[in-house]
Structures are given as structure tokens and as C-alpha cells.
Amino acid sequence: MSEAVGESGETSVSTALEGARERRIATGGIELSVAELGDPARPTVLLVHGYPDSKEVWSRVAPLLAERFHVVLYDVRGCGRSTAPQPLRGGYTLEKLTDDFLAVADAVSPDRPVHLVGHDWGSVQSWEFVTVPRTQGRIASFTSMSGPSLDHFGHWIKKRMTRPTPRRAAQLLNQAAKSWYVYMLHTPALPELAWKGPLGKRWPKILERVEKIPAGDYPTASLPTDAAHGAWLYRDNVRTRLRHPRTDAYAHCPVQLITPTGDAFLSERLYDELEQWVPQLTRRTLPAKHWVPRTRPDQLAAWIEEFVTAKDEGDPAKEVAARGRYADRFGGRLVLVTGAASGIGRATAFAFAEAGARVVVVDRDAEGAARTADMARLIGAGAAWAEAVDVADEAAMEKLAEKVAAEYGIVDVLVNNAGIGLSGSFLETTSEDWKKVLDVNLWGVIHGCRIFGRQMAERGQGGHIVNTASAAAYQPSKTLPAYSTSKAAVLMLSECLRAELAGQGIGVTAVCPGLVNTSITTTSHVAGVSPEEEKRRQSKAARLYGIRNYPPEKVADAILRAVVRNQAVVPVTPEARGSRALSRFAPRALRAIARIEPL
């Protein structure tokens, strides 16, 4: 392929795509501006942008992919530095766009199929590429974001119109409401005027405010013309295809579908029946808005890299193996769980592992942590590492964060779970006891949130923090004054942090379990009693918790669900939910329970 590179006057473009080599490819009476990054000997990843965008929309993703692949981007006809067809009407049909794609693919990767990635209209076009026969053998894989196949969409609508159950009708209305701009774009001339006038000027600010796209070198100066020309994408295709969708639009290559859950323009329901069109479909979801190439570049690059590598080598061992419930959401993501050598933390690490996450297992019990990491690998974790760290030790936590960032990446989900028990009346509890419990249960959480939360915020690509509080956080009791205080603090800390980080796409959850069958019963200190009495109470508690037998796995499931749904406070176990309700509606009853003699 390397000889193909130099043939048509290669120049360097001084755009947002630093170090890219530009060449121009003539096809069908127009000229496309094509940029290349990375080693041309590597598998080719071809990125197709959407509307109203230019290839620079990929400027945060392309460099990440260029470390491993030959990355190729081009401006769609009439956008950026590519020329527009004359006349515009009829110049934007999916057939012509397919011609463009083939011209680029043949020029940059003549003898190997390319891996296609499309966003928005880039994805809509790419669906055409991967479902028409003439491209067969030219595409090795396709990663689609926020752009459905017009044919699939057409069938989706038809099905809901011809057999409108209430649910289907609702889905239809929901999507119809999200498609307002499509109708607007069908009006003649007005959109062009708007884009070349006030809308074009305001657009960057709108993106920043509504779509949370970081300010900077994007969108580029060509925006008003890109947007005006691009209106023809809609006018030339949408009406005809939605009315007469092709019935043979089956994908002839594996497809990875990445769905942002906060997309203002596309309903997630659009993809419900996609399996019938795509024999090899991998689903991914991420909590983000429409412009993921701008807002979540790290995540996209990681998923694209994993998918392309697996499909390029055709190695089944490299295939995505995770089969857990939330594999679409956590596959490949970096999750750090503290206190993961035992109990709830370990079960949580396993649940994330089963969903294909990469897991950092942190505990002061090195042996137990290693065991968790070992088992996590056996059940589908992308990778798993054990780190022996005391969460109460600030310096050690700082060091851990540095190491994790350097070696594994920025944490996507942080679970501050390490905690210790302490029972005994307030007057019997020494200040030493207090210090111990606060050091781990409160300071451990503070260190975790502060150190890893800062990294998350600085990266600016979202994330989630889960803190394990307890039902004791809102259920007073005369036997657990210190423990309950520490957990109440964790609960409030979580609520405050949630408010603070909401604007940055970082969710914060406090989970509040009731009685869960873990080893916490036998490791909890009992203040003010003899060692024998302590031992007796511990085994009594252990037996009680054993009979209650609420498994930590269920808490883990609740934690994953809470992250997916971005819940604020999650009581787990019926008694935890019960006392939460009492704390709101019948606090006096709760206070009465607080006086009950312990075991």
C-alpha cells in the first residue's frame, strides 16, 4: 500500500489533525480531500464524519487510533476541503456517496478490506456501504454511532405504522419528536440561509452548551458551507428511502453498534430489531450525548481498537467474550473497586468482570485481592490487576492513582467499598476505635473520591463513582454509633459530590445495604468487651447473617444497575429499603428501633 500513498501529490494539512498527510482523490466530477495518519502497512481504519461536520470531528479520536492503525479520514463531498457536486440536487444520493467511499478505499487500501467507522450521517452512509453487494469484500468491519440505516429505519417506521400497539405508537412519536430538524432541512433554501447567517455563527456555542462539547478548534471555519451543502444529504435520500426501504439491507460484515444513551436526535429503540439485519452484532452503550467523537474519544478509540483487532485477526480468542448482563455498557471499561478481596467488593469486581470490564482490585489483603483478580480473569474480565493498598493511607492512594493512570488508564467507574465494622455503645467506644473506623470508612472514601475523582474530572469524559454506605447511614442504633456516623458521612459526601460533578457527566451513587452475608461479621471489632465476649458476639452475628443469607452478589448487581441508571441513593435488601422509608415517613418508629437491645 505504501506506493499508493505518494502517488497523487501528498501535502500536509495544517488542520486540527496534526501530522496528517493530505491527498486529493478525483471521483465522479468532484475532488475529495483525504487525510492519513499512522503506518500504511497496518490495517486501515476509515472514519466517516456526519452532519454538520467535517473530517476534523475525528481530531480527538484519530491520533489515538493512529498508534495502532493506518487511519484515513475524508471530507464528504461538499464539506471541508472536498468540492461539491454541480448541481447539488441529486448529487448526494447514497449511490454517489458509495462511489466516493469506494474511490477512497481503493486508493488508500487497494488490496485489503478497510475497517469502517461512521458517526451520524457518516454512519447512515456507511450502513449503505455495508449492505450493498458491490462493496462486498471491501469492508472488514463497521463501527456505527448515532446514525441508523435509512432502510432499517424505514422498516422500523412501517412496522409501527401498520401494526401500531400503544407501545409502538409511543416509540414512533418519541422518535418523530426527535427528528424535528429533519423536517426543517427539507424546506428549501431556508436552512442554507440560517447556516450562512446566525445559526452558523452561534453553532459552536450551542454545541458547547447543549451538547457539552469542549470548546477549542472544532467546529472548523468551513461549518456554514458544510452545513448548507449537507442539507442535500437529507433532501436526496430521506424521503425516498423511508418510503421505499430496501428489503435486502443485510450487513455483509460484523458491526459494532455504539449507542449514546443521551442522544437528543435518535431513540435507542431504533436499534431494537437490528439483529435481524446484522448477523454479527456487538452492542455498546455509553452515557453521553450525540457528539461522542468530541466528548468521549478515549472510550470510542478503545472500543474501535478492540473490535478492529478482533475482526482483523479473525482470532476467536480475541473476540469479546463477556456475556454479563451489562456487557454492552462496561465491556473494556476500567473499573476500580476497593475492599475487593472479600464480600461485597469482591462480588462487585466479579460482576464487572463478567461484563467484560478491566478491573483493578484494591485491598489491604494482598492474597485475597490476587485471588479476586485471578477469578475475575476466568469469567471474562478484559484484564484484572490486584493492588495491595490501605485506603486510609493517603500517600499510598496517591501512588496507586499515579500507577493506575500510567499503566491502565483513567478509571471509568470507581467503587469506594472498603470498610470495617465496629459495634459497642458510644460510652464504651474509645477515641482509638473512632479513629480506626473513620480512617477507613470515611477517609478511605474521601481519598478515593478526591484523587480518582480529580483524574476523572480532568479527563473530562465522564465517569461514575459509587460509595458503599450502609442502611446504618439513616437507621440510628445504640449499638453502632461510630459505624453509623461514618456511613452517614459517606452518604452525605456522596450527595454533595453528585451535585458538584453532575455538570461534568460524572455520576455519584451511594449504596446502602442492610444485612449482607459477608465476613464483616467476624472482622468487626466490638468496643468495651473482653476478647472472649467479642469472639462470641462475632460468631453469633455471623450465624445470624448466615441465616439471613442475603448474598453480596445481589448488592453487586444493584451497584451495576445503579451505575447504568445513574441512581443517587440505592438501599439494598428489604430491611434497608424499609428503614429508608421509615426514616422519611415515620422517623419516630425508626428511633424506637434504635433503642432495641443488640444481639
Binding site: R371, T372, M375, L378, I379, S519, G546, P551, E553
Partner: protein, 294 residues
């Protein structure tokens, strides 16, 4: 199988005994080997599509053909996440279903034949195809076999041993799945059974054996012990001499594995003689030895 039984080294060792003579031990050993041979034979015939019911029937037929007419309990077969008793609420769920075996699925065969008046109760865990996870569970059972023997020799109360096994399972990252058995037992006593011309079963359990168990329970109740080795107070006593079918059962996220075999407990003062596994030449034990040799 029977020729192999007589060659066992353990058989020739003299044991000071509670009531079982060495001839008795030989009888128990023989039926235990017969049962494990059955498990291996049936496991070898399992392939995708075979159902639990069919696997149970295969065990029954295999043993009947070799002279088994009575049962402590009829053969069980569990496939897939049923090996870990996922969502088991009532005992009826233990009975074989129409669940079909699929590639990569774990399975457990569990049978308790009575042969010439001697009872065996065994459990055999396998997996259709390669599974590193299942291998790990099987390997991790070894520590439980060692722990059980060690603590029985120390004459620790059964309830405490139960808790130690559970703790070890939790440390290993597993759930204790024998808790799902009736009374949560990790073991129960087995005994000789009088041979009758007609040996009916009740809910899959042989009436003769149930009678034996009931009379033991009555007996034990008066003396402060129980033929069921459970996590409850009635097991708060040192190991009672006799033959115990011990069945630690690990579960991990929809995968279960167990072994079950007879532990002989005597009233000897010599620790080595006070408790020993009836037979060390069993598939799971051989597997551990081979792994170590490899």
C-alpha cells in the same frame, strides 16, 4: 471395577473399628467404586442435547445392569447453572429436568446405589468441553478434602468444621452450595441396608435407607448427636463414629462443582486411625495427583 477394589492398599490396612469389619469396609469401597465407575461411564457418553432426565436414566440403567436393586437415593443429574442450584427454593427442584446439555456446560452426576447391602453416595463433577473456570473449581476442592479430614481427626465439633469449610469457600471466592441441600448438610451418615426383595423409593429415596437414617436420628437424638452434618446446633458435637458421605459443594456464578465420598470415622485414639477416607483411588483424587505430577 470389583477387581480393582480388592487391590486397594487401604483395604489391606487393619483398622480399629467402630462396628464395621474390614469386610464391611471392603463392601462399602466396592460399591463406591462401582458408583464412580458408573459416573465416568455415563459422563463419557454425555453430549450436547442429552437431558438431565436421560442422564439420570443412563446411570440407573448402568447400575441396574450390574446388580444394583436398592438405592439410598435415585441418581440425580444437574446441568448448567443447576450445578450451582441457582434459584433453588424447594427440594423438588433437585430432581432431573428436561434441561439439555450444551457445549461448555458444567454437569454433576450424583447417585447413591445400594449393592449387596452396602451403600455408596457419590458426586461427580464434569464439564462438556474445556473450561478453565471449571478446572479451577475442581482444583480448589482439594483443600476442602484435606481440611475436612484434618479437623475430623482433631475431633472438632461438626458444626465448627462446617463453618471452617464455609470460610475456606468464601476465602476462595465461592459460595457454599451444600447449604441448598435439605438442612444445609455437608454430609450425612450412611450404613448397611438389609436387602429386601422389594425396595420401594419415596421421593427418590430408598425406604430402607430412610428407615436407617430415621432410626439413627432417633438414636442420636437421645445421645446428643445427629446423622446429619449441618450448620445447626444439632451438629454441635464431635464426629460420631460411622460412615459419613461427605459432599462439599462449591458454587461460582452459575457454575457448581462437588465431590462426594465416604469418610470413615472410628473411635480410635490414634489420629490416623480415627478418621480416613474410605478410598483414595477416586477420579477427583487421581486428577489432583496428575495435576501435581504434570
Amino acid at each position: 471395577m470389583t477387581t480393582a477394589a480388592t487391590a486397594s492398599t487401604a483395604a489391606t490396612r487393619s483398622r480399629r473399628d467402630f462396628s464395621a469389619t474390614s469386610a464391611d469396609l471392603r463392601g462399602f469401597r466396592e460399591v463406591q467404586r462401582l458408583a464412580y465407575a458408573c459416573a465416568e461411564a455415563v459422563a463419557g457418553q454425555l453430549k450436547p442435547g442429552v437431558t438431565e432426565r436421560e442422564a439420570a436414566r443412563m446411570q440407573r440403567r448402568w447400575l441396574r445392569e450390574r446388580g444394583v436393586t436398592d438405592w439410598f437415593h435415585l441418581p440425580f443429574a444437574w446441568f448448567g447453572d443447576r450445578t450451582a442450584f441457582v434459584n433453588f427454593r424447594i427440594p423438588l427442584q433437585f430432581f432431573p429436568t428436561d434441561r439439555a446439555l450444551e457445549p461448555g456446560m458444567p454437569f454433576i452426576l450424583d447417585m447413591a446405589p445400594v449393592y449387596q447391602g452396602y451403600t455408596a453416595d457419590i458426586g461427580y463433577s464434569g464439564c462438556l468441553g474445556l473450561s478453565p473456570l471449571h478446572d479451577r473449581l475442581l482444583a480448589d476442592l482439594e483443600a476442602h478434602r484435606e481440611l475436612l479430614l484434618r479437623e475430623v481427626r482433631e475431633r472438632r465439633p461438626l458444626r465448627e468444621i462446617y463453618e471452617d469449610v464455609e470460610r475456606l469457600m468464601v476465602r476462595q471466592g465461592y459460595a457454599n452450595r451444600h447449604r441448598a441441600y435439605p438442612f444445609g448438610v455437608i454430609a450425612h451418615k450412611v450404613d448397611r441396608v438389609r436387602q429386601r426383595r422389594w425396595s420401594p423409593t419415596l421421593f427418590g429415596f430408598g425406604t430402607q435407607s430412610l428407615k436407617g437414617l430415621a432410626s439413627d436420628a432417633l438414636h442420636g437424638h437421645r445421645e446428643g448427636w445427629s446423622p446429619l452434618w449441618s450448620p445447626y446446633r444439632f451438629s454441635d458435637h464431635p464426629p460420631q463414629p460411622g460412615l459419613w458421605a461427605v459432599e462439599p459443594h462449591l458454587g461460582f456464578r452459575g457454575v457448581g462443582a462437588k465431590f462426594e465420598e465416604i469418610l470413615v470415622v472410628t473411635d480410635s485414639r490414634d489420629p490416623e486411625e480415627s478418621a480416613f477416607w474410605l478410598d483414595d483411588d477416586l477420579p477427583h483424587v487421581r486428577r489432583w495427583q496428575e495435576e501435581k505430577a504434570a
